[in-house]
C-alpha cells in the first residue's frame, strides 16, 4: 500500500450485460476463450511462483536460527535435517518491543478507520440525495483532492499539531488519517448511495420520513457493502501506513506503530535477517487475516468507483 491516503482510483463503470463487477469469478459458464494450452498453464504457474516465493522465503527465514539464516539460503531449510525455532518471534515481541507496537497499531488503526467512515457517510448522503448550490463544484474539489500527495500537507499540519501540543500523540494521527482518508471515503460512498433506487427515498418522503430517518433507516443499512469495503480499505491503509506515523508520531517511542518500529529496526541494522523477517511477519499477520477473510469486500473496494448498487 502507498502509506496513507487513497490510491486515487476512479474506475469507470465496467458493468455490461448486467454482470456484477468486483467479484473474483471463476469457472465461467460459457467459454470465453478456447481451451488453454499447456504453455499457458506453465506461464501462469511460473508467475504464481514468482509472486509467492519472496513471501515464502521471509516466512521460512523467520523460523530459522541466526546462524542458519546468515549462512545459507532459506531454500536449504526445505531439506532435512529440520531445525526450526520460535526464538526470533520471542525476541522481536519482547526485546524489540513489537508486542507493544502491535497494540499501538491497533490503537491507531481502529479509530482512524471508524471516524472517517462515519464523517463521510453523512456528507456522502447529502451529496447523493440533497440539492444545494455549488454541489457539483464542491464534489469536483473532492475528486481533485483524491490525488494530492500527502507531502503537500505535512509541514502546516505538523505546525498545527505542535501548536495544540498533540504532535506525537495518537489523537494527531487519528485526525490526520481522517482528513486524508475522507476524499476517497466521500467518493466511494457518494457513488454507492447515489446508485440506490430513487423510489425508496421518494416514497419515504411521501410517508413523512425526515431526511435523518431516511438516512439511518434506509440509506445506511442499504450501503453496508460499500461501508464494509471502505472500512477494510481504510483499516489496511492506516495499519500499513508509514509516512503519517513517521511525521506525526515520529520519535515518541511509546506510541510508535509496527511499521515505524520495523522501519527503524531495518535502518539501524538492529538485528540480523532472522529478527527482521520475524518482525516483518508480525506486521503482516493481521492484514493477511483480513485479506483472506474479507477478500470479496477488499476487491469491491478497489473497483469502488464502479460500484453502483
Amino acid at each position: 500500500m502507498t502509506g496513507a491516503g487513497s490510491p486515487g482510483t476512479m474506475v469507470p463503470p465496467v458493468t455490461q450485460g448486467g454482470r456484477p463487477i468486483g467479484q473474483i469469478r471463476s469457472g465461467p459458464q460459457r467459454s470465453r476463450a478456447p481451451r488453454p494450452r499447456v504453455m499457458i498453464h506453465l506461464v501462469i504457474l511460473a508467475m504464481m511462483a514468482v509472486w509467492l516465493l519472496p513471501t515464502a522465503g521471509l516466512l521460512i527465514n523467520s523460523f530459522r536460527t541466526a546462524a542458519d539464516s546468515s549462512a545459507t539460503g532459506w531454500w536449504t531449510a526445505l531439506l532435512p535435517p529440520y531445525e526450526f525455532t520460535l526464538d526470533n518471534y520471542a525476541a522481536v515481541l519482547n526485546q524489540s518491543g513489537l508486542a507493544d507496537a502491535f497494540i499501538n497499531s491497533l490503537f491507531i488503526s481502529i479509530p482512524a478507520t471508524i471516524i472517517p467512515v462515519v464523517v463521510a457517510a453523512f456528507a456522502a448522503y447529502a451529496f447523493a440525495w440533497m440539492d444545494f448550490p455549488y454541489k457539483n463544484a464542491l464534489f469536483v474539489v473532492v475528486i481533485g483532492l483524491l490525488v494530492i500527495p500527502l507531502q503537500l500537507t505535512l509541514i502546516p499540519v505538523l505546525r498545527l499539531f505542535a501548536t495544540f501540543g498533540i504532535a506525537g500523540e495518537f489523537l494527531a494521527v487519528w485526525l490526520a488519517h481522517t482528513g486524508y482518508g475522507l476524499p476517497f471515503a466521500l467518493y466511494l460512498l457518494r457513488n454507492y448511495m447515489g446508485g440506490l433506487p430513487k423510489e425508496v427515498f421518494e416514497s419515504a418522503a411521501i410517508d413523512g420520513a425526515s431526511p435523518a430517518t431516511a438516512f439511518f433507516r434506509l440509506a445506511l443499512p442499504m450501503s453496508v457493502p460499500a461501508i464494509a469495503s471502505l472500512a477494510i480499505f481504510q483499516f489496511l491503509w492506516t495499519w500499513n501506513d508509514l509516512l503519517v506515523s513517521l511525521i506525526y508520531i515520529g520519535f515518541n517511542i511509546e506510541n510508535q506503530p509496527l511499521t515505524l518500529k520495523v522501519a527503524n529496526l531495518v535502518n539501524s541494522q538492529g538485528g540480523g535477517i532472522h529478527l527482521l523477517t520475524a518482525a516483518a511477519f508480525v506486521t503482516m499477520i493481521l492484514p493477511l487475516i483480513v485479506f483472506f477473510g474479507l477478500q470479496r469486500f477488499f476487491v469491491r473496494g478497489i473497483t469502488g468507483g464502479a460500484v453502483k448498487g
Binding site: 455490461q16 453523512f122 476487491v299
Partner: protein, 322 residues
Amino acid sequence: MSDLVMAAAVVVGIPAALVGYILGVEFVLRIFPQQRRSKVRPWLWILPAGLFVFVFLIYPAIGTLIDSFKDRRSEDFVGLANYEYVFTNRDVIGAIGNNVLWLILFTALTVGFGLIIAILLDRVRYESAAKSVIFLPMAISFVAAGVIWSVVYAYDPPGSSQTGPLNAIVTGLGGNPVSWLRNGSTGTYALIIIGVWMWTGFCMVILSAGLKGISVELLEAARVDGANEWHVFRHIILPLLMPTIAVVSTTMIIIALKAFDIVYVTTNGNFGTDVLANRMYNELFNFSQFGRAAAIAIVLMLAIAPILVANVRRFREQEAIR
C-alpha cells in the same frame, strides 16, 4: 491505560457525537419554515467532513505553497530560490530522474503484467486461487515488502554461500554476485520491481473486472468469423478495455510519483536511488530546510496536476451519463 480509555471513548464517542450532531441539526431545523429547512440542511450535513477536508488538505496545501517561497525557517520571502535549488541541485535532479524512471517502468510493468495475467487467468479453472496469489502483496505494508525483498536481493561476497535466491541463481550460472540494492546501476530498478510485485494485483483485479464486462457473444462471433486469438485481443479486447487501462495507468502514475515508503525503508535514498518524496522528508527532518521541502512538494503536485484535470473531466462525463 489512559490510552485505552481514550481509544474506547473515541471509538464509541465520536460516532455517537456525530449521530447526535445530525439529530441536533434536525431538531434545530424545526424552528425554520419548511422551505428554509431544505436549503440549510445539506450545508449542516456536510459541515463535519468539510471541516476535516479544509483543515487537513486545503489549508495545509495553501500553506505549503506559501512556504515554498520562503526561507528555511519559513520567515522571509526568498522568491524562487527554493525552486531554483530543486531544478539545479544535482541530488534533487537525480531524484527527479529516478521518479521519471519509476513513472515509466513501474506504470508499464504493473499495467502490462496486470493485463497479461488477467487475460491468461480468464482461460483457466483455478482463476480465483491464482488471483489471490498475485493480489496478496496488496494487503501488506511497504515496510514488510522491503524486508521480504531484502532477503531476495541479499548479497554475500563472492566465494561464500549466497543467502539470497537471486544471487544464488546468478552464481549458480557462473556469474559474480551483485549487490542489487547498494549499487547505482541496479538500485532503482530493484526498488521498482518491489513496487511492481506489490501493485500488479491491483491492476489485474480492475482489468479483469473490465474483461468480464466484454460480452462473450462478441468474442465468440469474432472467433467464428475466423479471427485468431491475437486478433481478438488486438481488435476487440484491447479497444474495449482502453478506458479501464487509462484509469489504471493514471492510478499507477500517481503511485510512482508519490513513491516513498519503499525507498525510505530499503536504501533511504542512498546509492543513487533517491526519489522526490524521500528527498522532501530528508530536507524537512534531516536538513531542516522547510522552504526547499515545500518547493519539492509543490513540484510533486504540479507533476500530478494533469491527472487531476483528467480525473475531473472523466467525472463530469460520468455525471452526464448518470
